[in-house]
């Protein structure tokens, strides 16, 4: 078993934990953080492939950088939306956000 | 001069242009909308009449055909060594022949009459006429399209305006009727789409040897399908062991499935026996001009589709299923007729009589000979005209009396002699009186089927007797007998109502006395199918 598999497994574990958090947690902030965790798991994959992949190159690292940037943007917008919603509804519980239903 | 104008596209697009124009007109001007709708319905009528006059049976629809590729999507399947490209083409292909032209004519006539009859529409003219014109485009498209995908699009295009026309301008249970309409026809469309996909995926491709390899193009082109399925050496019909690709083989089983799916799809539209209930609701709940279109043209789209796609593309399956089809036809005839005999609501009588009459069309198709097939189309056209006329009368009647219950009406021949006369004529046409168009269609269908299935015809003929019973019962119930006091003062048809009635009656008489104005043309349309059937019979 080479190292790549180990990294990928770790990433999978983290991804699934993040996913579980997204699905189960009520607090919107934790949901956002769990998404960050999932993104990070992906980053780990990218970086691992960048070293142990079929054609090792820096592209993997570069993409993980881009991903982080996007994650940052997402976090910023996410928190902003959260704050806006909180103002309107005085709650950050995801299960109370059922606007999609209406 | 006219040779260079794309006539078919003009027919197709005129109502669409009209619809846009109606939408642009200010909301308040009700009469503007009416005039616009009428003008843009008359344009196709004039054009189809011109087509009718200039149609040469020798050349068929070839001079008018319009064909170009509309969309071309490359498929990135792994190409073999000698295949240079693989494309999916969506063609814009319009054409006419002896089968579609009569129906086209019917469509334009009924549309104009319905447009005139829409004077009784009391609310939201603008949307009404816009949808009405859109519906017209869809109907013309269905009869003109020679590409399966295009056909499907137009077929669906008729559903949407119909849904709103029923749902917004109908009577009391209009929403329910509209829903029922949509559910059934949606189901039919799904079946049709599946059948079309089967056909296109297996037989709908052309392979052209180019300089750098074979170019394969998939398309829903009707001509391509027709050639591929009829040609035993075509790829679709070759044994999979020879071609090595099991997925693209149009096996007999698959053909059977396609046929059954098409039968369901168009059977719902026609409608064939267990699928008829949606139509009853549409007949009773939709506004009369819309029912004119519905009963007059939309049901015929099912007939047309059945003949065009099920019969022409899969003649062998048609032969296998012809007995079933005939039995279904007989069931339709008798079931519809018996039920029409006991209805208290005139519109329901007409609805069930439509079921009965469409059964005769099925008999014509099932006969598999030229007499029966022509009878089927003839009966379609004639029933279209007759039911349009009948619903025109119903609309006028309802406008005056506010009811269409046979029990509540009576003796109207006293106060409305003109309307009653027309109603009686229409009823007579409906029960197949010689000299009116209904007889020719019925007679040809029965004559055709009798050549192949004698007993079924003999049973089906009973429907003619029952037709007399229900027509007389309802028509006499409305026009004869003592007149209730409240109907003594109602006025006869106004001029604007009388004009379409007289026009339709004249057409019914014309077709009844000189059927050859249409049969010669239809003859040419059916030649190809008959050749195939005869080939099979010979080989």
């Amino acid at each position: 078993m080479n190292m790549l598999a180990s990294y990928l497994t770790l990433a999978a574990v983290l991804f699934c934990i993040g996913l579980y958090g997204v699905i189960v947690k009520r607090n919107a902030i934790i949901v956002l953080l769990s998404i960050e965790l999932m993104l990070n798991a992906v980053n780990l994959n990218l970086v691992a492939f960048s070293k142990y992949g079929v054609q090792p190159s820096l592209t993997g690292q570069l993409f993980s950088l881009f991903t982080m940037t996007v994650a940052a943007a997402e976090a910023a917008v996410g928190v902003a939306i959260l704050v806006a919603i909180y103002r309107a509804r005085a709650s950050v519980n995801v299960d109370e956000f059922d606007e999609l239903r209406r | 001069m006219l040779e260079n104008i794309p006539v078919l596209s003009c027919i197709l697009l005129a109502p669409l242009v009209g619809a846009l124009l109606v939408l642009l007109l200010p909301k308040q001007q009700g009469s503007w909308h009416r005039v616009t709708a009428l003008v843009f319905s008359v344009i196709p009528l004039v054009l189809t009449l011109w087509l009718f006059a200039s149609y040469q049976t020798a050349t068929g629809g070839a001079p008018y055909t319009e064909h170009f590729t509309w969309l071309s999507i490359p498929l990135s399947r792994d190409l073999g060594q000698d295949i240079s490209s693989m494309l999916v083409n969506f063609d814009y292909h319009l054409s006419i022949d002896g089968i579609s032209l009569p129906l086209l004519l019917l469509t334009s006539v009924v549309s104009v009459m319905a447009a005139i009859a829409s004077v009784h529409v009391r609310k939201r003219w603008k949307m009404y006429y816009a949808l009405f014109l859109l519906l017209e485009t869809g109907m013309y498209g269905v009869f003109l399209a020679r590409d399966l995908v295009l056909f499907f699009i137009f077929f669906e295009l008729t559903l949407i305006p119909m849904f709103f026309l029923i749902g917004v301008w109908g009577y009391f249970a209009r929403e329910k009727a509209a829903n029922r309409f949509l559910v059934y026809n949606g189901l039919g469309s799904a079946a049709m789409l599946l059948a079309f996909l089967i056909l296109i995926a297996t037989a709908g491709f052309t392979a052209v040897q180019g300089t750098d390899g074979v170019q394969i193009a998939y398309s829903g082109s009707y001509d391509v399908l027709l050639n591929n399925i009829a040609d035993p050496n075509a790829y679709a019909n070759m044994d999979p062991s020879q071609t090595g690709d099991a997925g693209l083989h149009l096996s007999e089983g698959l053909k059977n499935w396609a046929f059954v799916l098409l039968l369901i799809a168009f059977g719902i539209k026609i409608p064939i026996f267990p699928f008829h209930t949606w139509m009853l609701r549409v007949h009773t709940e939709a506004p009369p001009p819309v029912v004119m279109i519905h009963s007059g043209v939309l049901l015929k789209m099912g007939v047309y589709g059945l003949i065009r796609f099920a019969a022409f593309l899969l003649p062998a399956q048609l032969e296998d299923w012809s007995t079933t089809l005939a039995v279904l036809g007989v069931i339709n005839i008798l079931y519809g007729a018996v039920l029409a005999c006991v209805q208290k609501e005139f519109k329901l009588v007409l609805a069930y009589s439509s079921v009965s009459h469409m059964g005769i069309v099925l008999l014509g198709i099932a006969s598999l000979n030229e007499i029966g097939l022509q009878g089927a189309i003839y009966q379609s056209v004639s029933h279209g005209l007759i039911s349009a006329l009948l619903f025109l009368i119903v609309g006028t009647l309802y406008e005056r009396t506010g009811t269409t219950q046979i029990d509540e009406l009576g003796g109207l021949a006293k106060s409305m002699p003109f309307l009653s006369g027309i109603l009686l004529t229409a009823g007579m046409a409906s029960l197949g009186l010689p000299g009116l168009s209904g007889f020719v269609g019925e007679f040809l269908s029965f004559l055709g089927l009798f050549g192949s299935m004698k007993w079924l015809t003999a049973i089906g003929v009973l429907g003619v007797l029952l037709a007399a019973v229900y027509v007389l019962r309802s028509v006499l119930g409305i026009t004869f007998g003592p007149i209730p006091d409240r109907w003594t003062d109602i006025k006869d048809a106004r001029f604007v109502e009388a004009v379409p009635m007289i026009a339709l009656t004249a057409l019914i008489v014309l077709l009844g006395v000189f059927p050859s104005v249409m049969t010669d043309m239809m003859q040419q349309g059916f030649n190809g199918l008959l050749e195939q059937i005869q080939q099979r019979a010979g080989g």
């Binding site: - | 029922r180 026996f273 006991v342 002699p417 009798f450 009973l462 003619v464 007797l465 007998g481 003859q523």
Partner: protein, 620 residues
């Protein structure tokens, strides 16, 4: 040039009159009605010319046709034939039609829809003329149906009377049953005839010279189906029920229907396709038996009726039975002869009855009586008609009835006696009718007065014809039969027939005189002894009730049952499917909670399922 070439014009004049009158509608004044009369006069003159030409015997039979409908290799033709038979019918139809037209100017004078009436009469005449002229079965069928619809329109002319409405409906539907038979026979012939020919000359050739081309069973079937058509139109048992009810129409129409147009069509049809019947013994026997049975059956009913027009109607049914009897025993000439004479005296009787009704405003003979005192012309002409119908020599009816009875005696002796009994009954009920209406003292309140000249003129013309028409063929002179059928008639000088026929007729009249005029025999002599019989006769053997019970009711029941089936089973299945779909939708709607995490979970599960499906492929 021959007149025969222009025979197609004969029906065209009435058609033109119809078109003009129906377009003018009520707007046109009463005088517009003369257009119809004029058209029928022109037709009459042309018909007479054609018949005269044929009588001269110098021209061949004329046929002209064109292709009405060409479908592939099949063609349906339309055309007309001018033969002795058709020219005879042309004259009869146009003559009766013209006289009825004249008469109607008086009879319908006060009706506001008089133009409509004349339009219908014109169309009726035209249809019948077309039927007569047709050279093939399809064209004949087309006009056959048109005749039916016209009679429907005219029977229901007074549409506001519920009885008229019911009678019109009944007339149309009952005759349509027969039409179905004809239609199926048409289909059979089309597919079995060599070359798909439907014209009468081909039919004649196939069934006479090429016997065996069509199998015997099929021939019988075709013949019986054609006969079914004739049964419907000519009011034979068991489809006779519409004819008496058709009396709800205006009386001139009854004359037209009973004398020349509608009912004659059935006899004419059988005569026209007689070769098919000749090819099948079974069919011939059926025709003869049905004819004989109808004759005696209707005559017995006629005895017990009290409506003047109904008595005449049943007598028509009975006389048509005679004609069918004649056809069934193989004598076209006798049948056509009786048709010819019957047309005149039956038209006469109906118009006379109309004249009486016009005067006393009732149709019940029990309320009449002594009418003859004030209505001399009507009484005399009616009397002549009654004598002709009763078969008293030398009136026309005697000769034609004699011809039928002679034919019957040679072929089916049993039917001869049936015919003889019928002749007795006929004489009896005609005597009853005549004496109750014209003799004795007035029983009703209305004061009879003679009808205007325009009504009595046709009566006189017809009365003359009813006297002389019989002399075209007597036992000593077979000219008519030879002219019509083209065959030398069998020598028939059976003294027994003449004696029996005259004896029973005279007996009938005498008995009638005794009972209804002199009163030496009590009227209730039968009804007091066997009240049941009279009741049965008065109720027409309960045939109507029987039909209502075995046909109309079950049809209605079936319809109601199917309506329930349609509502709850066919639609119910769909409704159930619809509701289950809606239920599924509600279930899905609950899934559609707006909860983001629920969606995410669903997506995850979907992803897992897809992944499992893809991964699972490896293992099988």
């Amino acid at each position: 040039m021959t007149f025969a070439q222009y025979a197609w014009l004969v029906p065209l004049f009435p058609v033109a009159a119809f078109a003009v009158l129906i377009t003018l509608g009520r707007g046109a004044g009463r005088q517009a009605a003369w257009i119809g009369t004029l058209a029928s006069l022109v037709s009459l003159i042309l018909s007479l010319c054609i018949a005269g030409e044929r009588l001269s015997g110098t021209v061949d039979e004329y046929n002209a046709h064109f292709t009405w409908l060409q479908i592939g290799n099949y063609s349906l033709n339309a055309g007309f034939d001018v033969t002795n038979l058709t020219s005879l019918m042309l004259v009869v139809v146009t003559l009766v039609s013209f006289l009825v037209n004249l008469y109607s100017h008086g009879y319908m004078r006060d009706d506001e829809r008089i133009t409509t009436f004349f339009a219908y009469v014109a169309l009726f005449t035209a249809s019948m003329l077309g039927l007569v002229l047709s050279d093939n079965l399809l064209t004949l069928y087309i006009f056959w149906e048109l005749v039916g619809v016209c009679s429907f329109l005219l029977v229901g002319f007074w549409f506001q009377k519920p009885e008229a409405k019911a009678a019109a409906k009944k007339a149309f539907i009952v005759t349509r049953i027969g039409d179905l038979g004809l239609l199926i026979a048409l289909l059979l012939l089309f597919w079995y005839m060599p070359g798909n020919a439907l014209d009468f000359s081909s039919i004649h050739n196939v069934f006479t010279t090429e016997a065996g081309v069509i199998a015997g069973g099929i021939t019988t079937l075709i013949a019986l189906l054609i006969f079914l058509g004739a049964v419907g139109k000519s009011g034979q048992f068991p489809l006779h029920v519409w004819l008496p009810d058709a009396m709800e129409g205006p009386t001139p129409i009854s004359a037209l229907i009973h004398a020349a147009t509608m009912v004659a069509a059935g006899v004419f049809l059988v005569a026209r396709t007689f070769v098919i019947f000749q090819a099948s013994d079974a069919a011939m026997t059926t025709v003869a038996v049905i004819g004989g049975f109808t004759a005696i059956f209707a005559a017995t009913i006629g005895l017990a009726q009290n409506d003047i027009k109904r008595i005449l109607a049943y007598s028509t049914v009975s006389q048509l039975g005679y004609m069918m009897l004649a056809l069934g025993v193989g004598s076209v000439s006798a049948a056509m002869f009786h048709l010819f004479t019957h047309a005149f005296f039956k038209a006469l009787l109906f118009l006379g009855a109309g004249s009486v009704i016009h005067a006393v405003h009732t149709q019940d003979i029990r309320e009449m009586g002594g009418v003859g005192r004030n209505m001399k012309i009507t009484a005399w002409t009616f009397g002549i008609g009654a004598l002709a119908l009763s078969g008293i020599p030398p009136f026309a009816g005697f000769w034609s009835k004699d011809a039928i009875l002679t034919a019957a005696l040679t072929h089916q002796p049993l039917l001869f006696w049936v015919g003889a009994v019928t002749a007795f009954l006929t004489a009896l009920y005609m005597a009853r009718l005549f004496f109750m209406v014209f003799a004795g003292n007035p029983r009703g309140e209305a004061h009879a007065h003679e009808s205007p000249a325009i009504m009595t003129l046709p009566l006189i013309v017809l009365a003359v014809l009813a006297v002389v028409a019989g002399f075209v063929e007597t036992p000593f002179n077979g000219w008519f039969g030879e002219w019509v059928t083209g065959e030398k008639p069998e020598a028939h000088t059976s003294a027994m027939v003449i004696v029996v026929s005259v004896a029973v007729s005279l007996l009938g009249v005498y008995l009638g005189w005794l009972i209804y005029a002199k009163g030496t025999v009590r009227r209730d002599i039968v009804s007091s002894r066997i009240p049941g019989l009279v009741k049965v006769l008065e109720n027409k053997y309960y045939i109507d009730e029987l039909y209502r019970f075995i046909l109309v009711k079950p049809l209605g029941g079936l319809g109601k049952a199917l309506a329930v089936f349609d509502e709850y089973v066919v639609d119910g299945v769909v409704r159930m499917a619809g509701q289950s779909a809606a239920g599924l939708g509600r279930l899905n709607a609950r899934l559609q909670s707006g909860q983001l995490q629920g969606y995410a979970l669903t997506a995850l599960i979907g992803l897992v399922i897809i992944a499992l499906a893809i991964a699972g492929r490896r293992f099988w």
